[in-house]
Every structure is written in structure tokens, then in C-alpha cells.
């Protein structure tokens, strides 16, 4: 008999009820359910069994007769997908440095194959449940509890590639989903977050792009500068080379011979020039010598003339001598002025050339500075615009966060007040059910454990209520003075100190002495002195409790 295969009617479905009645008929039908699907049979409202995959026989003649005779069972078959499925949800969060980030949360889920019957909890009254329904159910619990809490500890630039944070989110999501839907048979297999570019990253990308542009501009500038320098150097070299090449090209054989001859002649000329230079040096020396002699002679003459003038002046014949002297002096002055003028002309021409060159350089430098300043100003204006935009955006975010923080603080305070009031009410309600003496003890500041011991003691010792209350007050006072905090201390205190014939007050007053061992213990029925440390210890002790020495053989 051929069997037809039952599957979910839609790939988006997670679970679905199958109406078995539509397969009932005169001929029995075999329905196969694949091993990747959960088959859950509910008969008369009770789960008969659940398994992975099944083969179902429905209808048939004999079953029809059986149903007609003994009544028909209400059968319902639930099939659910056991394969892992993936859900995606958009998420938003704010990072530690207050940057809003968005991303996509991907959760791999699976119906727990070890607890198949629990899938009924997802079904409710619907005939099917989709995977999207599951996402709707769990996504509200993952926002603040998991993503905000985790992302809040990380800076925006540290989100991308942060495997440790992904592990943490996975752990938190698993715990949350286990808490929400663990008993419904849902398992989380893995969780991953994919982040969109956030504002910090975009800003960093833009910044880097601008830096790259700047670097490229700098590189272009350097390349251009270098190419100009190279071109200048190569042009000069080329010109020199061209000149040499042209010279060589233009040189014929005769010219070459002539050049060689010229070189030979140049050599001879150089040799003769050297001889002449030497001769000229000798002549110049002679001339200098003669000049010096002449100058000395002239000086001597001038001095003689001056002497004569002085004498003539003295003699009254001043006029003639003055004229001759003035003429000689004027000739010398004219020669010196001509030489100075020539020297000045040369200097002026050199200064003129220097000034022109400096002006040209200055002009070039000014032009370059202007160009750089213009570019820097443009860059600064662009930067300020971006910075202003970022500041406005940051201020807006900060104001939003302050408003949200204020609201949350107000809610927390209200909640704290409410809890405080509830606790006070609960305390009053509990004290209403306590006995008056217990309330008295607790209100006196004694711990509940000690209060209980006090109540037991008072109840055991006192007869009527008034006496019990008075005794209770005394005991509370004594326990406060002795600073008794725990139940064991209270019991020890009252057993050791308050059971003596001396009464409550005397027992407390002598507690220190008893504890020191210098006073016999009332309960032990006597004490003995230790031979080693000379302290009194209860006669029942086998060892000295102060020095450890054996007290008896």
C-alpha cells in the first residue's frame, strides 16, 4: 500500500495541526512523516506519545466498523519542524560613548528534540505557529536586558569584529531565551550580531578618506615640484649637450685640424703668455718701484713746496705758491673722483642685478604663500563646518539622554518610596500577629532570634502577665548591656548567668568573673584550681580550659 508523505504546509511554519478526519475513508490510508519532523498524537485530549517521524494508518473498513460499534476516538496530530531555523531582527542600541548603533541580530533556534511534547506550549489555540511568531515572542526581552546592557560597555569604534562581545551576547541571549521559552521546548543554538556603520565609523571613514586625499595632494605637489626641478636640470644639461653636439657636427676635418692646431697654438700662446706674465711681473715690479720712488720724490717735493709755501707765506710771497699748489691738488682730486665713479658704476650694476633677482624670488615666494594660505583657509572652513555639525548633533543627543535619565530617576524614586511603604505595612501586619512581649522585645532593638529566647525564658519563669512583662523588660535591659546578638549567645548567657540563685541582675553582674574562671561555676557544682595556671575551672572538666593541663589522672 503506497503511503503519502505529510509535511508542514508552509516553510515558514514551525508547527501545525493536521486534521486526520479528512483522510478517513473506506480504504485505509498510510501517512508517512519524515524523521526531521516531530509527530505528536493526541487521543481524546491526551498525549498518547511523541516521536521523530512516524508512519500513520488512518481509516479503513474494519476501523470504520470498530468506530461504529465502540465509539470513535477524537484524534489530533501535531507535526512540528525539528530542524534548526534562523530568525533575524533589527536592533538598536547606544554605546558607551553615546553613539547610536543599529544592526541585525541573527538567532539560530531549534525545537528541543529531547522534550518534544513541550512544543504544545507554543501552539495556543491556533492551528499553526510560524517562526515569525517565535521572534515576536522573544524579541521584546532581548532589547534592554541583553543588547543595551552589553553594548553600553563598549565604544562605537570597538564594536566591529569584537568576538568577545559576540560571545557575551550569545551567552546572555541563551539565558534569556531559556528563561522565556525554555520550558516551551525552544533551544538557542547560536547568536550573531551584524552591525551597520555607525556615526563614529562613518566619521572615521570620512576622516581617513580626507587624509588620503590630502596625502595624494601632497604627493602630487611633491611629484610636480620634483618634475619641474628635473625638467630645469635636464634642460640645462640638454642645452649644453646640444651645444657640444652641434659643435662636433659642425666640425669638418679641416676644422678639426685647425682645432688641433688651435690647441697647439694655444699651448704655445699659453707658454709665451706665461713668459710674458713673468716679464710683466718684473716690469710691474720695476714700475711700482719707480712709482714709489717718484711718489716719494713728489711727496718730498710737496713737502718741500709746503715748506717753501710756509716760508713764502712767512715771507709774504704767498700768492704764487698757493696757485701752483692748488693746481697739483686739483689734478689729483679729478683722477681720484674718476676712479671712484667707475668703481661706483660697477657696484651699482651688481646691486641692480641682485635687486632684480631678489624681487623675482620674493614675487615667486609671495605667490606660493598666497596659494597655500588659500588652500588652508578652504580646508579650515570645511573642517569647522563638519565640527559644528558634529557638536550640534552631540548636543542634541546629550539633551535627549538627560531628559530620559531624569525620567528614569523619577521612576526609581517613586518605586523606592512604594517599596518602603509596603515594607512598613508588612512589618506592621507581622507585628499584629505577634505576642505583646515579642513586639516589646523587637521594638527594644533586640534581634528576633534573641527576642524569641527572651520570650521563652520569661514564659518559663513568670506566672501572671504583668510579672512576665516586667521580667521581660528586665531581661531586655540586661541583654542590651551584655550586647547579646545571636541566639546561641543568648541561650548560653541565660543558662550560665541567669539560672543561679542570685537572680538575673546578679548573674549578669558576675558574668565577667565567671568567664575569667576566678569564680566557681554555679551549674557545675564546684570548681578546682589548676596547678599550672592557678585558675579556677569547673570540677567536671578533665582538662584546664585555660592552659590545657590534665586535671585528673
Amino acid at each position: 500500500m503506497a503511503a503519502s508523505t505529510l509535511t508542514l504546509s508552509d516553510d515558514q511554519l514551525l508547527g501545525e495541526y493536521v486534521a486526520l478526519d479528512r483522510f478517513r475513508g473506506f480504504i485505509e490510508q498510510r501517512l508517512a512523516i519524515g524523521p526531521d519532523l516531530l509527530a505528536l498524537l493526541i487521543r481524546d485530549g491526551q498525549i498518547v506519545t511523541a516521536a521523530h517521524g512516524a508512519n500513520v494508518g488512518v481509516g479503513g473498513f474494519w476501523r470504520g466498523i470498530k468506530d461504529a460499534l465502540f465509539g470513535r476516538h477524537a484524534l489530533r496530530l501535531l507535526i512540528a519542524d525539528l530542524k534548526p531555523f534562523q530568525l533575524r531582527s533589527a536592533v538598536e542600541a547606544v554605546t558607551q560613548d553615546h553613539v547610536q548603533v543599529a544592526g541585525e541580530l541573527t538567532i539560530d533556534l531549534q525545537v528541543n528534540p529531547e522534550r518534544p511534547a513541550n512544543v504544545l506550549g507554543l501552539m495556543k489555540d491556533r492551528s499553526n505557529v510560524t517562526k515569525a511568531n517565535v521572534l515576536e515572542r522573544i524579541s521584546p526581552h532581548l532589547g534592554d536586558r541583553v543588547l543595551e546592557a552589553t553594548v553600553r560597555r563598549v565604544n562605537a569604534l570597538d564594536l566591529r569584529g569584537n568576538v568577545a562581545m559576540q560571545d557575551k551576547v550569545q551567552s546572555e541571549v541563551m539565558r534569556e531565551v531559556e528563561r522565556i521559552a525554555g520550558d516551551l521546548g525552544l533551544l538557542v543554538r547560536s547568536v550573531a550580531l551584524r552591525w551597520a556603520f555607525n556615526e563614529d565609523e562613518i566619521a572615521a571613514i570620512r576622516k581617513r578618506a580626507r587624509e588620503r586625499e590630502q596625502e595624494m595632494a601632497e604627493l602630487d605637489f611633491r611629484i610636480l615640484e620634483r618634475s619641474i626641478a628635473r625638467e630645469g636640470e635636464s634642460t640645462i644639461l640638454q642645452l649644453r649637450t646640444d651645444l657640444d653636439v652641434e659643435k662636433v657636427k659642425a666640425a669638418s676635418e679641416a676644422e678639426l685640424r685647425r682645432m688641433i692646431l688651435d690647441q697647439e697654438l694655444g699651448f704655445v700662446d699659453a707658454r709665451e703668455t706665461g713668459i710674458r706674465i713673468e716679464q710683466m711681473k718684473v716690469l710691474r715690479h720695476e714700475l711700482d718701484l719707480a712709482g714709489a720712488e717718484r711718489r716719494d720724490r713728489l711727496v718730498a717735493e710737496i713737502e718741500a713746496a709746503d715748506h717753501a709755501i710756509a716760508l713764502a707765506r712767512e715771507r709774504g710771497a704767498l700768492q704764487g705758491v698757493d696757485l701752483a699748489n692748488d693746481e697739483v691738488l686739483r689734478r689729483y682730486q679729478i683722477t681720484a673722483a674718476r676712479l671712484r665713479m667707475e668703481l661706483r658704476e660697477v657696484e651699482r650694476s651688481v646691486e641692480d642685478a641682485d635687486t632684480r633677482q631678489a624681487l623675482a624670488l620674493k614675487r615667486l615666494e609671495e605667490l606660493q604663500n598666497l596659494e597655500i594660505a588659500e588652500k588652508a583657509r578652504e580646508q579650515q572652513i570645511r573642517g569647522m563646518r563638519d565640527l559644528q555639525g558634529l557638536e550640534i548633533s552631540g548636543e542634541r543627543d546629550r539633551l535627549d539622554l538627560e531628559i530620559k535619565g531624569g525620567d528614569a530617576e523619577h521612576q526609581r524614586r517613586m518605586e523606592a518610596k512604594r517599596l518602603e511603604t509596603a515594607a512598613e505595612a508588612e512589618k506592621l501586619r507581622l507585628m499584629r500577629e505577634m505576642s505583646p512581649d515579642l513586639v516589646l522585645a523587637i521594638n527594644a532593638g533586640v534581634s528576633p532570634a534573641v527576642a524569641n529566647v527572651l520570650v521563652e525564658q520569661a514564659r518559663a519563669r513568670a506566672g501572671d502577665t504583668a510579672e512576665k512583662m516586667q521580667l521581660m523588660r528586665d531581661m531586655i535591659e540586661q541583654s542590651r548591656e551584655a550586647r547579646i546578638a545571636t541566639e546561641a549567645q543568648a541561650r548560653h548567657f541565660f543558662e550560665q548567668g541567669m539560672q543561679g540563685a542570685a537572680g538575673v541582675a546578679q548573674g549578669v553582674g558576675n558574668a565577667a568573673a565567671v568567664a575569667r574562671g576566678d569564680m566557681p561555676q554555679a551549674a557545675g557544682g564546684g570548681s578546682v584550681e589548676c596547678a599550672a595556671c592557678h585558675r579556677n575551672v569547673p570540677a567536671t572538666d578533665r582538662f584546664c580550659r585555660y592552659c590545657g593541663r590534665p586535671m585528673r589522672a
Partner: protein, 383 residues
């Protein structure tokens, strides 16, 4: 004093607040410093089982498998299971692997009783494939009235590191236990094979770890004991007092077990309700070297309760109690504070007058355990 494990009578006898030994079996009683709250006895070097009861677990969702070159963040939960309601202070947590120690940053420092705190250990990028052990060492402390006992506790987890090669994903569906034999249905079992899973798998349950006392780390990390000399001073250490007259010193073999401290001061050793309600364990008197009589004028510079000696964190400490202060190794100490004493330390009760009275501390140790602490009086006034 040789310490023996407690018997049932010891806990009963310990309730008598001034006893140093069990009256029934003679065992030395060492109380927890917070005995008033926990009513617990402790071993000479051990932690109070009621006050210090930490439990470490791997948090649900922890991933213990990764690939070469990736980091791993492992969430842990530290629980304070103290039955005495004592808070547990966490001074430091260090993760140790083969490459070194990484301190775990903790935003919190204390865990209340019966509550828990979480922390995450991030590994360095994993360098080699295989299995690596990660040790967690925590420095925990319990505080009570100005005293603090610190201990090291450790646990170890194993990390599996795979190579970065691509792996095959194998889907497994467990079909065991399918019983389908009613309602006209036929059981159709499907066999499947198990394949090793190389993908990181997150744990689905919280995993408890064996979080045990790590004594071996305590001395090297300076938590307990003396790093210099690798020595420990147990709470059951004996004291000897050479140079003191018999009337001024405790009997031979005295311990600090009785009150947890050794009280030293001008007050005599004999209890008197009127004249000496708080006697000293060790009486400090200045004697005239010529006559041997007590120098009354010098004695006024020593307070009736001048200082206490106590054993804390396996180290000997001094607590100044007198208003005049005292001098330890030439350093002036004033009232309050707890100061460590090393082997060879010198205590001068009257600051600046070493010639009048000085106490030299000497440790007598065997196998790293200080068995006797000698407090020698200078100048000697007795045997």
C-alpha cells in the same frame, strides 16, 4: 602547641567564651575572628568554613571552544555561600594561562552572603591549536572589626582550540526512545551516526567548578605568610619569653588561642575585679639594673594595655593600644593600625629608650612552618 582535629565536644566547649582548650578532651580551640557571628572553629592555617565559602561556576551560554587567532570571553559567576551571613570581599581575580597572568578588571569588590556576582575573563588571541588550561585565581578576604583574613582560591577550565580550517557541519537528530505503537501508527526508527562537532558550542546549563583553596599561590603573591624565607606562622604557634621573670610571662607553650591576641602592657597578670579587671598576658615592667627593683618612674611611660600581638594571614602582627605609642625597628607607631612583624624585629615599648626595655622577635621554624616565636627581653630580668 600541636593542634589536633576538633571533636564534637570542642564545639560545645568553645561556647564558653574565655576557654582556650576543650575542658573535656584538652584540644586547643582556635576560634574564627568573627566567632560571635559564625560560632565556628578554624584550623591553624585554614579559612573559616562558615565565613569563607565561595563557589565558582561557568555561566550558562559560555563557549569553551574556539579557533586559532580568536579571542574567547568566558562568563563566570562567583557565589558567596556563607551560612553565617558574612560578606566576602574580592580583592583580585587573575586568569593564568601558559603565556602569563592577566588581571580581570572588577567593577565590584564585595559579595553579600547568599548572593552572586558575575565577571568575564577574556583570553589573549589563541595562538596554537589544541587544548589549553585556564586557571582562575581569586584573592578573597573576610573582614571583622579591623581584622582581615585573606586567602587564595583557584579553579581550572579547559579551552579547546581548533585550527582555522573550514569544517563540515553535520546535523544530528536524536531519534532514540521513539515509541509509537498506538492509534494505528507504526514505529519508524532512523539510524544516525555521531560526528565530532568542531563548531563552538555554548553550554546550556550553569556548570559548577571545583573552586578550592590555592595555598601554593598565597606566599608568592604575598597574600599570606612571609615571602622572604617562605614561612608561615600558624594560629597554633607557641610563644617563649626568655629574659622575663616568671611572674611577668605566661606559662611555657602559651598560644594566642584564648582571646585571639596576646595582650602586652604594664598591667599585672593576676586578675583582680577591683584593681586589675583587664590583666595582661605578658607584663611589661622596667627594672632598675642595679637593684633589680621595678622602676616606677619609667613604668608610667608604658600603658596598662600597651600593645597586642596577633597572628593574621599567617603572619605575626602588632597592634599599638597605648597612648604613648611604641617603636618597631626604629619606626614610631601610634595607636591603631595593624603592623606586620618579621623575623628579627625589635619592639621598643618606650620610644627612644631602647636601653630601658626592648623585645627581640625570633622565629624558630621547621619545614616552612614557624613552630615557636621567641620574644626575648633586653636587658634580661629573668631566666
Amino acid at each position: 602547641m600541636e593542634w589536633r582535629p576538633y571533636a564534637s565536644c570542642c564545639h560545645r566547649q568553645a561556647l564558653a567564651v574565655d576557654s582556650a582548650f576543650c575542658g573535656e578532651c584538652g584540644r586547643l580551640l582556635l576560634r574564627c575572628m568573627a566567632f560571635q557571628e559564625c560560632m565556628s572553629l578554624v584550623t591553624p592555617g585554614g579559612a573559616c568554613p562558615m565565613c569563607v565559602a565561595p563557589a565558582l561556576s561557568l555561566e550558562k551560554g559560555a563557549t569553551m571552544r574556539s579557533q586559532v587567532g580568536r579571542r574567547l570571553a568566558i562568563p563566570f559567576v562567583l557565589r558567596n555561600a556563607s551560612g553565617a551571613g558574612r560578606p566576602l570581599r574580592v580583592d583580585a581575580i587573575v586568569a593564568r594561562d601558559g603565556s602569563g597572568e592577566v588581571p580581570v578588571p572588577l567593577p565590584w569588590e564585595e559579595i553579600d552572603a547568599q548572593s552572586e556576582r558575575g565577571f568575564t575573563v577574556e583570553t589573549a588571541p589563541l595562538e596554537q591549536a589544541g587544548t589549553r588550561a585556564l586557571d582562575i585565581v581569586a584573592t578573597l578576604a573576610s573582614r571583622y572589626k579591623g581584622r582581615e583574613e585573606r586567602y587564595a582560591f583557584g579553579a581550572s577550565v579547559t579551552i579547546g582550540i581548533d585550527t582555522a580550517e573550514p569544517t563540515q557541519i553535520v546535523q544530528n537528530i536524536n531519534l532514540s526512545g521513539a515509541q509509537f505503537a498506538t492509534g494505528g501508527m507504526v514505529h519508524a526508527p532512523v539510524a544516525n551516526r555521531q560526528t565530532a562537532d568542531r563548531e563552538p558550542v555554548a553550554s546550556r546549563e550553569r556548570t559548577a567548578l571545583a573552586f578550592e583553596r590555592a595555598e601554593r599561590f598565597e606566599i608568592p603573591l604575598g597574600i599570606r605568610g612571609y615571602r622572604n624565607g617562605n614561612l608561615r606562622v600558624p594560629r597554633s604557634v607557641e610563644f617563649a619569653f626568655p629574659g622575663f621573670p616568671d611572674s611577668e610571662r605566661p606559662a611555657k607553650g602559651a598560644t594566642i588561642g584564648q582571646r585571639g591576641v596576646l595582650a602586652c602592657g604594664r598591667a599585672g597578670r593576676q586578675y583582680d575585679a577591683e584593681h586589675n579587671p583587664l590583666p595582661s598576658d605578658l607584663a611589661l615592667r622596667v627594672h632598675d639594673p642595679r637593684t633589680g627593683e621595678v622602676d616606677e618612674r619609667a613604668a608610667v611611660f608604658i600603658s596598662r594595655h600597651h600593645f597586642d600581638l596577633l597572628v593574621m594571614n599567617d603572619r605575626l602582627h602588632v597592634v599599638p593600644r597605648g597612648s604613648n605609642g611604641l617603636e618597631v625597628n626604629g619606626q614610631r607607631l601610634t595607636i591603631g593600625g595593624v603592623h606586620q612583624l618579621d623575623d628579627g624585629a625589635e619592639i621598643v615599648p618606650i620610644p627612644g629608650h631602647r636601653e630601658r626595655l626592648a623585645l627581640k622577635i625570633r622565629f624558630r621554624a621547621a619545614l616552612g612552618i614557624v613552630e615557636t616565636i621567641e620574644i626575648a627581653r633586653e636587658p634580661a630580668a629573668g631566666p
